[in-house]
């Protein structure tokens, strides 16, 4: 059918356009000299990659720091956010609208609106320029996301199952471990993966609170970019986007389905 072919064409044109900006990064990472007006590099080389992966470039160290920050932020957000998500989904209470508004506020307000003031507060608390400070700051965009997604997960959970387990003699811990956790685990895993990515993508909060002393990958990437090292930028950028692509492949089905809501957390 003609309409069908037209749709296929339009959809792939759109997809192509969306992938396009990544191509020059891939080419640059293997380029050895690529001056205007050459369409392709004069020479190919693995120099940028071997430099990026060598200890002296600092890329591996940044990779480690970025992973620690995102991992710790996600863990904290899960510990704090799962109970809160449950409360939002399964309890009725006064002020619920206000709580939801407080949760939405950090996802709408630009980070720069609070970064300066937060730096002042953290400076006094001795948290400015520290890893702990950056992790706490990352909770601002990550925690609301975790709570809202877990609220959606708990909305499909029937607390009667817990009551039944308890009436059959399960302790609260057994009840959580064998009834609640298995029910929410798939949702929790997806929420955690995306929460990890929200922290992974932060630039401004890390820069403002870390003050350049907590050198995550995006900060390092920017400094290579301002130094005009395009080949190294290409390699570092690809290392930096890899976890996101892995997460996307792992969760592709749930994102296409009704879980598209999860994308809301990767807010714009």
């Amino acid at each position: 059918m003609r309409a069908d072919r037209l749709r296929t064409l339009a959809a792939f044109a759109l997809a192509f356009w969306l992938v396009l900006p990544i191509l020059p990064l891939v080419i640059w990472s293997f380029a050895h000299g690529w001056r205007f007006p050459d369409l392709l590099p004069q020479d190919w080389s693995l120099q940028a990659w071997s430099f990026a992966l060598s200890p002296r470039s600092g890329v591996l160290e940044s990779l480690f720091i970025t992973t620690v920050v995102a991992g710790a932020t996600t863990l904290l957000a899960a510990l704090i956010g799962v109970p809160a998500g449950r409360a939002l989904a399964l309890h009725r209470f006064r002020g619920k609208a206000l709580v939801t508004l407080l949760l939405l506020a950090p996802t709408v307000l630009p980070g720069i609106a609070i970064a300066f003031g937060l730096h002042g507060v953290f400076l006094r608390a001795g948290l400015a320029g520290t890893l702990a400070g950056v992790i706490l700051a990352h909770l601002i965009p990550v925690l609301p996301y975790m709570v809202l997604v877990m609220a959606a997960v708990f909305a499909r959970f029937d607390p009667d199952h817990e009551a039944q387990a308890r009436s059959l003699g399960a302790t609260p811990w057994q009840c959580f471990r064998h009834v609640t956790l298995p029910a929410i685990l798939p949702g929790l895993m997806t929420a955690a993966l995306f929460a990890f990515l929200v922290s992974w993508s932060q630039y401004l909060l890390t820069l403002a609170i870390g003050g350049g002393r907590v050198q995550t990958l995006p900060l390092l990437l920017f400094s290579f970019a301002s130094a005009g090292r395009n080949d190294i930028v290409g390699a570092v950028a690809l290392i930096y986007v890899l976890p996101g692509l892995v997460v996307l492949i792992l969760t592709a089905r749930s994102v296409t389905g009704r879980g598209a809501a999860l994308a809301g957390g990767l807010r714009p």
Partner: protein
């Protein structure tokens, strides 16, 4: 344990931590913008910083530029996303793959997209090279300036590229929960395809679209790293100007940086109202 204590225990950690970080950050920004800083001996709050920025043509130009970037981005991205969502809702050969590819850039951080786009559309970028190979231009300077340009075209391009899939997915989720029955009924009652879309489908997806658009507007207005990479030297986007004032060696410009942050926060709060309304009206479930 009563229900109330239980509820309080569940909610308290999240509210204390988030409220604590968010409101102390916002609160201190507000105090400093009013030039209240007892540590520096400034104990009489006043509006000097606000009058200073509001009478500064540089600030007003930056504010106008950021509003332009956010408005253009939102309109273009929302329109294209609506078309993309209506397209991806249909079945056609290769739909699954196309849907997957459309999601790819959701996980790509803005800073990576901005650098990639720069290599693509700058005056010595890939497009300029193709134009040269096609004999359209002689030198990089002949290629139209799409980055560091006064109209912020590069910035808008990047935001549209990045936010389009975001709005598309929100719309797809909303379309999926609505189903196709309403349109089918409208068509059977004699509505044209356009009428069925305009008077039946569009009103149903509008609250979700409005909420997603408000999020996009807020982001395009307040993000720092994208205009930092793709923006012109002057006028700077407002977040870049605010950051510059904040990191200025002259500490006297700090209150002005804080005042700019408050202006950004106020616009963010107005958008929050739009998002909250959109989410409650679309039944909260599909957009979140």
């Amino acid at each position: 344990m009563t229900d109330r204590t239980r509820l309080a225990l569940l909610l308290a950690p999240a509210l204390v931590i988030l409220g604590g970080l968010f409101f102390t950050g916002l609160g201190l920004t507000l105090l400093r913008s009013l030039r209240y800083s007892p540590g520096l001996g400034m104990t009489d709050p006043d509006f000097t910083a606000y009058t200073a920025i509001l009478s500064d043509p540089g600030f007003l130009r930056s504010l106008a530029l950021s509003l332009w970037i956010a408005t253009a981005t939102t309109l273009i991205a929302a329109t294209l996303a609506l078309a993309a969502a209506l397209l991806l809702r249909r079945t056609f050969p290769g739909r699954a793959l196309a849907s997957f590819l459309v999601q790819i850039n959701l996980t790509i951080p803005h800073i990576v997209g901005a650098i990639g786009l720069f290599y693509l559309v700058s005056q010595s970028g890939a497009f300029a090279r193709i134009a040269h190979a096609a004999g359209l231009i002689e030198a990089p300077a002949d290629f139209p300036a799409l980055t560091q340009d006064p109209y912020a075209i590069g910035i808008i391009l990047l935001y549209v590229w990045k936010e389009l899939p975001f709005i598309t997915l929100i719309l797809l989720a909303s379309l999926q929960s609505i189903g196709e029955d309403h349109e089918a009924v409208a068509r059977s009652l004699g509505a044209t395809r356009w009428q069925a879309f305009r008077h039946v489908l569009l009103p149903m997806i509008l609250p979700g679209l409005a909420a997603a658009s408000a999020l996009v507007f807020a982001f395009a207005f307040g993000a720092y790293e994208v205009p930092l990479i793709l923006g012109a030297h002057a006028p700077k986007a407002l977040p870049v100007l605010a950051w510059q004032a904040w990191t200025d060696t002259d500490l006297a410009s700090r209150p002005e940086a804080m005042a700019m942050a408050v202006v950004i926060a106020l616009i963010g709060l107005a958008l929050l109202a739009v998002v909250a309304r959109g989410l409650t009206r679309s039944g909260a479930s599909d957009a979140r």
